[in-house]
Symmetry: C2
Subunit: 317 residues, 2 copies
């Protein structure tokens, strides 16, 4: 490896659905080293901790032991940050109440900070992505569901139990589609990738439609009903964004996830609803923009966790 002479850096860990990804990133956002290995979450916490520790040590070995400020981990699930424990996770089997932070600290002998993966992604976009110019922003991630994070004055808003930012379950149509959470008209039943695929199946029974990408392909080919799906999706998204603008008055709202390439199909109805429903938007003209870091947002955000309280320092190249 290139021998770096470096300043402070940290290591971010992203426990993604298919891959465990680890990257060393310096204060300027430069990726010094990165490794991705297949995830083995079904093998249980001891194996996952072992995989993380081994990979972090490899990355650390490549960059050097001096200057490491800590390791940040983006976890897909609810965590108790104070205790360093994963409370619940749909993907991480057997991790309930597992003291992942202390286990890792024992092996790695450095600061370990946990964060929810959606919050980490929001933090990453604020640090090195679409939000580089701001300290207050909201990220909405459109995927199977809709999640995201709220950044206020450069820090994640957690709420009283770390459950802030459940944008997917904001009610946009009080009598809308039923949701597994017990509600009707949740944003994610009208604007997630899953919702787009579902609406597509309902609208296009003469075509094979199994994903949001299929609906997007149909829309690009000029299919009017596929365009209507994105128009409906944009409307729901616009109602939610207008509500967030009226509540937060932030200058930036960032969207990420699979449906983003279909921006031109959903953005017109989204902005139409925003303009109609938020006089704050009309008066203050906040930005709504696509995320810039793609699947790396959570990795950057995780790496930023140990760095965010350091004083700015110059990085030697």
């Amino acid at each position: 490896m290139t021998p770096y002479s470096i300043g402070p850096y940290s290591i971010g860990v992203d426990l993604g659905g298919t891959n465990l990804r680890v990257a060393a990133i310096d204060l300027a956002g430069k990726v010094l080293s990165r490794i991705s290995i297949p995830a083995t979450y079904e093998a249980g916490p001891q194996r996952v901790v072992s995989d993380i520790v081994t990979t972090v040590q490899q990355v650390r070995g490549q960059v050097g032991h001096d200057g490491l400020t800590g390791v940040g981990i983006g976890v897909p699930g609810y965590i108790d940050m104070q205790a360093g424990i994963i409370i619940g996770s749909a993907n991480l089997f057997g991790f309930q109440n597992f003291p992942i932070r202390d286990e890792m600290q024992r092996h790695l002998n450095t600061v370990i900070i946990l964060e929810n993966d959606a919050n980490a992604a929001a933090l990453g976009e604020m640090w090195m992505g679409a939000g580089r110019s701001v300290k207050d922003m909201i990220l909405l991630t459109l995927g199977t569901g809709i999640g995201g994070g709220i950044i206020i004055d450069g820090k994640v808003l957690h709420g009283s139990q770390g459950m802030a930012g459940e944008f997917g379950h904001m009610t946009v149509f009080p009598d809308g589609n039923p949701c597994g959470c017990g509600n009707y008209g949740c944003l994610e039943k009208h604007a997630s990738a899953t919702a787009i695929a579902s609406m597509g199946r309902m609208m296009h029974f003469q075509h094979e439609v199994s994903s949001a990408a299929d609906v997007f392909a149909l829309a690009k080919a000029g299919n009017k009903r596929a365009e209507m799906v994105f128009e409906a999706m944009g409307r729901a998204l616009g109602i939610a964004l207008a509500n967030l603008m009226n509540v937060f008055n932030f200058s930036l709202y960032v969207l990420s996830g699979g449906p983003l390439p279909a921006w031109d199909f959903f953005a017109p109805s989204m902005f139409m609803e925003i303009k109609r429903r938020s006089f704050t938007y009309e008066r203050t003209n906040p930005r709504v923009e696509p995320a810039l870091l793609g699947a790396d947002a959570g990795l950057y955000g995780a790496a930023y966790l140990p760095l965010q309280n350091l004083p700015p320092a110059e990085i030697q190249g």
Copy 2:
């Protein structure tokens, strides 16, 4: 006046609709002196500043000049906090771009801090009212419209232009009542005191109904249609609160304003909607409670502005 031997205190000013109220309050929340005079906003900014200055000096004279940390002012309108200027106000005629802070500072020779009146009320409830046990809370004020404030870690969330907390214009029914802001189904068109009176007029044409209090009187007398008005109002409020809970995950949401005495009529449908629409509520059990300070919330909040950055100190009785 009683000769006080006091520690740090501050003076809060509330520019209410009918009265200009000024109170000296100490760090423990004890009101040391208070004066209320009729408001003369139509006489223009110079007269209003003169009234404020005179009244503040009277209060200060009663308490003593030592220990005054500053004066906080709750302003009904949009303000530029950095510049100390009122940008716009429906009640304060001729104040547009008037440098009220510098004008007052010139006469009073102490720290002057401006805050929006709804934010000041939220701060007051956090400091000495329903939110005394918390540092994160939301206040919703049900009046002619619906306003309020967001307190995070003990401080007001302002947003990028001081317009955060416009809860009245959250969309609760996308195809609901038209609002002057250009939207349909704004919360304040379904749950403010004005909306209750308006729904009452529509539901009870055989009675004289001119205010929310009239509808409340009818409901108390057993009128089923008046009860239905509060049930509809509670539903709208519940949808908005569920959204706020999903977004903020705070442990406390406080309601204030004229319709609060009708709690027993609107609370059942409000909590029904909250439970259905916020799994965060079901999991974390946040409180929804009436405000405790009534019309004094803004006065307490204004007084708290110069105090909030002081280190806690013991007050001599």
